[in-house]
Symmetry: C2
Subunit: 126 residues, 2 copies
DNA sequence: GCTTATAATAATAATGATTATTATTTTAAC
DNA sequence: GTTAAAATAATAATCATTATTATTATAAGC
């Protein structure tokens, strides 16, 4: 795959993710985009999601239940996983990068970053 | 399943995990325990791992590649995921629970805890 | 120690998410 | 417009995990 050609399906996926706040799974994206493109294939959704993740235009989040979810916002931000409704929500707080330094002091290899998920109950489930 | 009966297979899994520092996958555990119990079944390994996780005797770690790994040490400690060899290693550092408070101040629901993975290159891969 | 009820097992089938294959269709350069 | 390369839809294949079921092991009561 030398050059990347335009595809309306990929555009639809980008468009969809840029407006979604739901951190959807590949299957959810597939189901929803089928409303506009009735014969888009699930394989196409997966392939384009991986492509967009590789290009850094989309972020993949692995939930604590192991499910892959996608986020159109690639700016660094924290995620909250609700133990009850299993939704993934955003937390708007400053990055705590200094914990990388703490980790580096206590580890022989090279710590380049960290991934933190918060969990608990969202306000709707409380 | 009212009461839990003894099984030598489950004991072997506990024993194995209590000595392992490798954070093995279910399949690795299966392969290794087959040396001593040649006809243990992979289903038995999975069932007992889930049982031990439910009882809190074993910890399940979901790696960034989505693979499930198991840890016999249930004391809180941080994990490091090597981007190159995909191994999961321990980092010996104090818990940074105060970030839960920071998150709680910035989130409408109830933050009960967090999971943090560090990543980068381990000293063998550097 | 023997009987009996129940849990655990081994073997295997089933499931679910993701990736690979392939013939056909789109895209975009010439 | 032609043409080569990339993307697609449909489908098959893969991989990890869970479910099913007939058989075996455990442990309690006699």
């Amino acid at each position: 795959m030398a050059t990347t050609k335009y595809s309306r399906q990929r555009e639809a996926i980008k468009e969809y993710l840029s407006h979604s706040k739901e951190h959807p799974t590949a299957d959810t994206i597939y189901m929803d985009i089928r409303e506009t493109y009735p014969n888009i294939s699930l394989g196409t959704v997966y392939r384009n999601l991986n492509l967009l993740v590789d290009k850094g235009e989309v972020m993949k989040i692995i939930g604590m239940d192991g499910s892959d979810r996608y986020d159109g916002n690639t700016q660094h931000h924290y995620h909250f996983l609700c133990n009850k409704c299993q939704r993934v929500l955003d937390i708007d707080m400053d990055s705590i990068d200094r914990i990388n330094d703490i980790a580096n002091k206590n580890f022989p290899g090279k710590v380049e970053g960290h991934v933190t998920y918060f969990y608990g109950k969202c306000n709707e489930c409380e």
